[in-house]
Amino acid sequence: MAMVYARIRLVAAAIALLVLAAVATPVAAQQPNSVNPNADAVKEQQLLEQFKRIQGLGTIPDTKSYTIEQPEGRQWRQYHEVSLPWIGTIAMLGMIVLLLIFFLVRGMVRIKGGRSGVNIVRFTAFERFVHWMTATCFVLMALTGLNITFGKVALLPLIGPGAFSKWSLAAKYAHNFLSFPFTLGVIVIFCMWLAGNIPNGRDLAWFKQGGGIVGGDDPPAYRFNGGQKVVYWLVVLAGTIVAVSGYLLMFPFYGTTIAGMQLAQMVHGTVAVLFVAAMIAHAYIGTIGMEGAFEAMGEGTVDLNWAKQHHRLWLEEEQGRVGPAELERQPSPRPATPRA
């Protein structure tokens, strides 16, 4: 029996082979003479429409080189060369013009009743140090940052390419390294002035009365009034945004792609120029805009009458804490100038 089965297997295998050969031969004969190897080929235009970029696989270790085409850089170019300069010019020049008009109309906000000749401590040495450290970094970073956007138009024709490149290289390093004390300053400012900057109902009333700057009223305020709270939150929020987006640019490809860095640069540039515009207004009201305001951050003390006018509720708190007599023992370096 086993022999019979073996024969049958052999015959079956032979038939199968014959059938296979018979089927295969015509297939080979049917192969077309020319193949269009382009039938399945990837098309540039189709890839760009589908993915907005073209990438594949390479053999070198630099994986970001596997992207061969990313035309979205064009939008970023439009932003950097056209949009950002316009946003920056309108925001900063606009703010300066507004402040100039305001100064001409309103003039310096005077201390009502003149100086009392008695001072009260407003900012400790530590607070002033943090403020000026952050402010110094901010001004230098603003100038070096604006140089990247406006320098080649405003400065390059004046000093020539060699000098402009030397300055820009130094400015780039200053911008990068000053970001560390600036970020530290923003964090400390957030922590040390948070308690005084929680928004409350008083702020609404303060804004309704124009902050005492517009109109004759002097709305009462605690340590920080509505306007100062706006500045505080602006510094905290804008400071955080520029810091985060800036560090993404300083550490290329650490968690970002080209598209991510383009976006980071757009956020950084836009927020930064608006931040500068806002800080011009802050500097205005802290100096020529208001009598007796600069000494708060300069020497750390303010005149009693200034405090009464602008921060009455805070003054009452302070007097309740240390007693009115204690306050009056601090003579002001500036003489009393009583006014009607």
């Binding site: 039938a39 594949g56 080189s65 490149s165 780039k172 080209i258």
Partner: protein
């Protein structure tokens, strides 16, 4: 003067990477930088194509437009070059470039970038043609010697073409007409705002 361009006929590229090697060797490119690379799209699938890509020397180049120190210039042959003396390594040309051409040697801490390096179309830089300092900073200046970029010159399948845009476009057109297919002049629409009708 000619309007120099690159054209990679992807239907001929066999992904041998000789252009990459030739470029590195001819120009003594710094470590970690590849002025030219070959990328395979749909690798291993039907219809895969390999494209050799470097700086395309764009018309109205985006890198030159966004450079904060205006260190780019275009030669009479329409080759886009830059001055490493003026470059501050800010990285902006890299954000703007559609082809990922600008690269930066890592020179310091964090991600700090050195002077940008990219394909020069074997045309050196602003230094005197063929000088030692030009070679050190930018690599070979073959154009000044009347030669084309080495990557295209030694391409074994003549997939990568370099030369006057009109001439290489005609060569490509003739090829497509003869063989009956062509996947297009990769990057031309983006770089030159024109493509080759086939």
């Amino acid at each position: 003067m000619a309007r120099m361009k690159f054209l990679c006929d992807a239907d001929r590229c066999i992904e041998c990477n000789a252009c990459v090697t030739a470029c590195k060797n001819e120009n003594e490119v710094p470590w970690g930088i590849n002025r030219r690379r070959v990328v395979t799209i749909n690798d291993g699938l039907p219809g895969e194509r390999s494209v050799s890509m470097a700086c395309m020397h764009c018309t109205d180049a985006p890198c030159a437009a966004v450079c904060p120190v205006s260190c780019f210039y275009t030669t009479a042959d329409a080759v886009v070059l830059h001055s490493k003396d003026l470059c501050i390594g800010c990285g902006y040309c890299f954000y703007a470039c559609p082809f990922g051409a600008p690269q930066y040697p890592r020179v310091g801490n964090f991600g700090s970038r050195g002077k940008m390096d990219k394909c020069t179309y074997c045309t050196g830089g602003p230094e005197a043609d063929g000088s030692a300092i030009e070679y050190e900073k930018y690599g070979a200046n073959r154009l000044a010697e009347g030669k084309l970029p080495l990557c295209a010159e030694m391409c074994s399948t003549k997939s990568l073409l370099a030369g006057d845009g009109d001439i290489i476009a005609q060569i490509y057109k003739d090829r497509v007409a003869k063989r009956g297919y062509g996947s297009g002049a990769w990057g031309w629409q983006t770089a030159y705002r024109e493509t080759i009708a086939t």
